[in-house]
Each structure stands twice: as structure tokens, then as C-alpha cells.
Amino acid sequence: MKINKEEFLSLSGIGHKMLDAWMEEEWLIPSGSSPELSFSEIDIARARLIRDLQVDFGVNDEGVGVILNLVDQLYGMRRTLMELRHAVRTNPSE
């Protein structure tokens, strides 16, 4: 699913200014280029995670950046681990 900026704002519940700031920090990386930005479900879910961190957990902006960087590394490793598992399963002799 691809949605535009307005739809993204209403689905994620964040405001214009906040979105610009998050994109500036590269917390969110939509595809396309301004003003024709295109968002997908993962961007919405990531925006909710950022809101959880800020609003529910009281993490400040510096903290969010640190957490997202670690989260991205964590998921990068999980993904690689999944691919390794796949490689091992399909090529047991190697």
C-alpha cells in the first residue's frame, strides 16, 4: 500500500511540522521526493513506534535517535539471521 503525505498524517496522527522534523533527522525515509512523497505501512508503524517512545516512554529527541539506530541494527541482524537460516536450510551440504 502506498499513501500520500496527507493520508500518512491522518493515519499516523502526527502533524506537518513533526513529520518534517522526523524526516530531517532521517527517522522516517519516505520514497519519492517532495512534494510527491509516498509512504507505506512500515512508515506508519515506525511513526507509531516513535510516538510510543516519545509520549509513552518519555524519551527525548536525542534518545529517540539512539534507539532508532539500535533498532535498525537489531532488525538488520534479524533479517540477516533469517537469510542465513534460509541459506543453511536450502544448502545443507555447504
Partner: protein, 301 residues
């Protein structure tokens, strides 16, 4: 459901501040996105989020304390978590492999495996995108060049091959979603939907058509024009043809997989003039054969 105060580990008399602190302490440990592999954490997180949704809100807490609402149904339904997407096969721009880059630098077999999988990630090809393309029956037999307008904008030119059947999927290489790195584009998968035709139907490689003819053509025979999906052809109707007589036009059907063509089968239907015709009535009333001939001989009463 347990008492929300118990879930959060606070006394029912706790201040709003204490409740928030208790919630944050637990939520930080249990948030599903921060515990991607831990199903138990997700269950517990749902529980504490539900409890906090109830007693973390002054208004709802008052109603809960007064017994106006209970703990059931307090769980906040939540759409998918970030981890559901970040763990999927799909591409997304947030992956970061720097966490184990040092592992890839060594010369052992494990490093080789890691390097390969990182490369596969970097050069993953794009997804296939599926579309539906409605076409006319005639286009399905004769083939056509169609332009598909895509829901996400843009168009796609599709060469529909002659003889395509309902539900067949055409693959346009490289017309799908973009990949990452050198991965290239995915494919567009186009499912063909053939609109029913008023005259023609198809069975296998043969095409069926019911064709009205006049009484004169039926009795005396004639050469008539017959439509086929690839244009009209002339066909000889033999003398004495009847309703239900089926004539075969060889090679005028759908193209076959193995080469060659099926046939078109033309089922004749004798049609009298719409308006009553005095000459015809006069002829038939004097026609002796019409009175002795019994077409219902074999129809049991």
C-alpha cells in the same frame, strides 16, 4: 482480566505520577518493537498497555474505581507493530547492517555467508506487481495491444497474444516495483479477464456462434456472410438446413498452443419474418407436405 493496578504493580491509591512511572518502567522492557523475537513480551505489553489505558487516564480511572466500567475490553486494539514490517521479506529503507560489519571482514566461512546475504539484501530485486486487465472476447481471440492505467499512476502497454484464455497471467519483465542496489525491477503480472460476448462463446479452441437465417435461405440454401472474431467470411448454407444444423468453419477458431487454429461452429436458427406475411400464409395453407409431416414423432407425449 486481572486488576489493572496489579498488572502495573501499583497500589490502588497510587498517584497518577506513580502509575505513569510504573507503566513506563514496564513498557520500556516489553515494547514489542524493542523485543522482536519475544512473543511473551508482546502478551505482557498488551496487558500493561490495556491497564494503563484504563487507570492512566484520570476520567476512566475514576469510573473504574467507582465500578462503572470493568477491566474487560480495556485492551487497546493496535494495528501492526513496526517489527511486523521490519521482519518481513519486503524491502524497506531502514535496514542497517553495521552492527556486524566486523564479522564480515574475516576470512572464514561464516563471514562469507554473511557477506553473501548482505549483498543479496543490497541487490534485492523489486516485487512483482499484480494487475487485472479486462479485454473484449474478440481481442482474446485475435490479440490486441492494450494500455493499462495503473492505480498508482502511469500506464503500461500490454501486448495481449491471440488466443489468450480467461485468468491467464501475462508477465512483463522489469515492469514491477523497483529493487534495491543492482537488484533491478520486479515484474508486472497481468491477469486477463475476458468480458462475455453477446454472440460468441468459446470451448477449448473452438468458437461457437448461433446464427439466424431466413426461411428462404434454409429451404433453398444460400451463401451468407458470417462474422468471426477475425472478420466476416462467406459460408455456404446447404439446401434444406434446419434450426440446430451446425456448420463448421475450419481454422476460424482460436489459435492453438501447438500451432494451428480451432474451428468456428455455426449453429443455424431459422427465423420467420417478424410481421405476418400473407403470401407465406397462403402458400403454407396450400402446402400438403406441411400437413403430413410430424416433427414430434420421437417426442413422447
Amino acid at each position: 482480566m486481572k486488576n489493572p493496578y496489579e498488572i502495573l504493580g501499583v497500589a490502588p491509591t497510587a498517584s497518577a505520577d506513580d502509575i505513569q512511572k510504573a507503566y513506563r518502567k514496564l513498557a520500556k522492557k516489553l515494547h514489542p518493537d524493542l523485543n522482536p523475537g519475544n512473543a511473551e513480551a508482546e502478551e505482557k505489553f498488551k496487558e500493561i498497555a490495556g491497564a494503563y489505558g484504563l487507570v492512566g487516564d484520570a476520567e476512566k480511572r475514576k469510573r473504574f474505581d467507582n465500578g462503572e466500567i470493568d477491566a474487560a475490553g480495556a485492551e487497546r486494539p493496535r494495528q501492526n507493530y513496526y517489527r511486523d514490517y521490519a521482519s518481513s521479506e519486503q524491502d524497506y529503507p531502514y535496514t542497517n547492517n553495521s552492527g556486524f560489519a566486523d564479522f564480515m571482514d574475516s576470512e572464514d566461512a561464516f563471514a562469507e555467508l554473511l557477506r553473501r546475504s548482505a549483498q543479496a539484501q543490497a541487490n534485492r530485486s523489486g516485487h512483482d506487481l499484480a494487475y487485472r486487465l479486462p479485454i473484449e472476447f474478440i481481442e482474446s481471440i485475435a490479440g490486441a495491444n492494450k494500455r493499462l492505467t495503473l492505480p498508482e499512476g502511469g500506464t503500461l502497454d500490454v501486448a495481449v497474444p491471440a488466443g489468450i484464455t480467461e485468468g491467464q497471467v501475462l508477465r512483463l519483465r522489469g515492469k514491477g516495483a523497483p529493487g534495491s542496489g543492482k537488484g533491478g525491477f520486479g515484474d508486472a503480472l497481468i491477469e486477463v479477464e475476458i468480458k462475455p460476448d453477446r454472440s460468441f462463446t468459446r470451448q477449448g479452441d473452438d468458437i461457437y456462434l448461433e446464427l439466424p437465417i431466413t426461411l428462404t435461405e434454409a429451404v433453398l440454401g444460400a451463401r451468407i456472410k458470417v462474422p468471426t472474431p477475425t472478420g466476416a467470411v462467406t459460408m455456404a448454407v446447404p439446401k434444406g438446413s434446419n434450426t440446430g444444423t451446425t456448420l463448421r468453419l475450419r481454422g476460424k477458431g482460436a489459435p492453438k498452443h501447438a500451432g494451428g487454429y480451432g474451428d468456428q461452429l455455426v449453429k443455424l436458427k431459422v427465423v420467420l419474418p417478424k410481421e405476418p406475411d400473407p403470401d407465406l400464409e397462403a402458400f403454407v395453407s396450400n402446402w400438403q407436405g406441411g400437413k403430413t409431416h410430424n416433427p414430434r414423432e420421437e417426442v413422447t407425449p
